[in-house]
């Protein structure tokens, strides 16, 4: 179901964690709340779930006014950052909790739990206690527990934050597929732009208690409306007050037009891509990104002098208004 957040503000003491945040998430979408630590992502998620009451503003879920509804009647599945397992219950009873609170028949509960155990690939571990599970397994148990009651929306707070890199990559992929299967409106919080780009259909970029920009990963990457978004989403070169993506830096065979010389300081091989650290004649450093093949052809080596073209850099005015890509100021 759709989620509509309208002008929500929230203070903790004198600290304003959310400043009039408005957000609409369409039914069935997979959305990431992306931003640096402390930008208010978790607070916004908790306001939607009813775990935190907003000072002003309103929350609607599936068209229904929910601002003052307690968490237990919102029909929201919430997965906590550290999973919040019920430590004194088995995996089975953790997953069954929401159904048993609703006084469902035992047969129905058993059936649903079996179905979920399979969905999250924990079949066989139903009798274990949380202390006997790995981080990734706990994560999936928490997800199954939240899904058991067929929530209208699923909210995940830093779902991959506490896991190591391998498990993380696997779970991302899996969350994406799971969403394709069950189509529940999902919002997850992350501070990792790569994670947001890879998993989400829509990204909401937050900064200092405000929403900076909302869009698809591609829109945000190609048309960031502020320097904050541009530098948060993907690598960036800053030249004066203009910004340039490393892959926009072209290495050309001949000087001419808008080109300059650059000294190769470092060559870093990142699998398919090669990142080249360059020093410009005025001493500024930028990085360029080229394919492996191109790097090979150019015989890139440290100390080499190249000719580069810096095509169009973006300039953001202090008010963060987007400005049409300007020609390079060099």
């Amino acid at each position: 179901m759709a989620i509509e957040v309208d002008s929500v503000s929230k203070r903790f003491g004198t600290f304003e964690a959310l400043h009039g945040v408005s957000l609409t998430v369409t039914d069935g979408a997979l959305t990431a709340l992306l931003g640096p630590s402390g930008s208010g992502k978790s607070t916004l998620l908790r306001v939607i779930a009813g775990l935190e009451a907003p000072d002003t503003g309103s929350v609607r879920i599936g068209g229904q006014e929910m601002t003052d509804a307690p968490a237990r009647s919102r029909g929201v599945g919430f997965v906590f950052q550290h999973y919040a397992p019920f430590k004194h219950m088995t995996v089975r009873n953790n997953i069954a909790f929401g159904l048993s609170v609703r006084k469902r028949a035992k047969a129905e509960i058993d059936e649903r739990v079996a179905e979920l155990l399979k969905l999250v690939r924990l079949d066989g571990l139903a009798g274990r206690y949380p202390s006997q599970l790995s981080g990734g397994q706990l994560q999936r148990m928490a997800l199954a527990r939240a899904l058991a009651v067929r929530p209208k929306v699923l909210l995940l707070d830093e779902p991959f934050g506490a896991l190591d890199a391998n498990v993380r990559a696997e779970l991302r992929e899996w969350l994406r597929r799971l969403h394709d299967e069950i189509h529940v409106t999902t919002i997850f919080v992350t501070h990792d732009q790569e994670e947001a780009m890879e998993v989400a259909e829509q990204i909401v970029v937050m900064n200092a208690g405000r929403i900076e920009q909302t869009g698809t990963p591609r829109e945000l990457y190609e048309h960031p409306i502020s320097e904050f978004v541009m530098s948060f989403i993907g690598p960036v070169n800053r030249i004066g007050n203009a910004y340039l993506r490393p892959h926009d830096v072209q290495i050309v065979p001949e000087p001419g037009g808008n080109t300059t010389e650059a000294l190769v300081k470092r060559v870093v091989h990142l699998g398919f891509e090669v990142r080249v650290q360059l020093t410009l004649p005025d001493g500024r450093e930028i990085s360029a990104q080229v394919t492996r093949a191109a790097a090979h052809e150019l015989e890139l080596a440290e100390g080499q002098i190249l000719t580069v073209r810096l095509p169009a850099a973006r300039v953001f005015t202090p008010a963060s208004e987007p400005v049409a890509p300007a020609p390079s100021t060099l």
Binding site: R72, F78, F80, H82, A84, K87, F97, A142, A146
Partner: protein, 250 residues
């Protein structure tokens, strides 16, 4: 090293007491324990101890809850006062209780020389145990567990019954065990307020003391031994319950 230390402090006294109690043979031991006055004292001690620890389990947990979860003026003071029964010599505690709840009570409650006075004195001296064992656990209890339960549809009572209490059980049980042991052994606070009336308000420990004064050492040793065994059985059982309930709660 530690072995010697513990032996000197715990094992040797227990062994000496056991030796003393059984030196006249099982017949004497049994006769002394089943002496009607002795039996009444032992029974009183155990029954009141059970009532007291049951009350402690409930009120100690509630007090711990309020101290951890609620904010109110004077909270720090109340928190500090919880330890008062530990700090006060028990004979002084007995004196205070007698002047408050004895003859001519300023609050109009006179329980001196009744069985209620036994319970009152024991409640006072065992107050801190459950509070102090539950408090840190409650403090560490992740709020997110309760939030998770709420978001799954559980109302406040269900959250307490199915999430909070099971998580606190090991701590409550261990507080109860300490309270029980203390209640069985308590002497100082009882002597003044209970009047030590045989068959009525005379607790096991007080009976032992009276027998020692009468130089009836076999009787004193026998009843001490019976109290020791009762305390060990209850501690053993509670340890088992606590182990079992905390097996998976980390």
């Amino acid at each position: 090293m530690l072995g010697i230390y513990l032996s000197a402090l715990v094992l040797l006294p227990i062994a000496a007491l056991t030796a003393k109690a059984t030196s006249g043979g099982p017949g004497v031991l049994w006769r002394e324990i089943t002496n009607p006055e002795a039996l009444a004292a032992i029974k009183l001690t155990l029954v009141v101890a059970v009532v007291v620890v049951a009350l402690n389990a409930v009120f100690g947990t509630l007090i711990a809850w309020v101290l951890v979860r609620d904010e109110f003026p004077g909270k720090r003071l109340v928190n500090a006062l919880i330890d008062l029964p530990f700090a006060l010599p028990t004979i002084v505690a007995g004196l205070v209780l007698l002047s408050l709840y004895g003859h001519g009570s300023p609050v109009g409650v006179n329980v001196a020389f009744t069985r209620a006075s036994v319970a009152l004195a024991l409640l006072f001296v065992t107050l801190p145990f459950v509070v102090r064992s539950v408090q840190p656990v409650l403090h560490e209890l992740e709020l997110s567990m309760e939030e998770a339960a709420a978001s799954l549809g559980a109302g406040p009572f269900t959250v307490v019954r199915r999430i909070v209490l099971p998580s606190l059980t090991p701590a409550i049980v261990s507080g109860v065990a300490l309270s029980f042991a203390r209640a069985v052994g308590e002497f100082g606070s009882l002597v003044l307020i209970t009047g030590n009336l045989p068959f009525k308000t005379e607790a096991g420990s007080v009976y032992v003391f009276a027998q020692i004064q009468n130089e009836n050492l076999p009787a004193a040793a026998a009843v001490s031994f019976a109290l020791l065994v009762a305390a060990l059985v209850v501690l053993g059982a509670l340890t088992f319950v606590s182990r079992w309930s905390s097996k998976h709660v980390r």
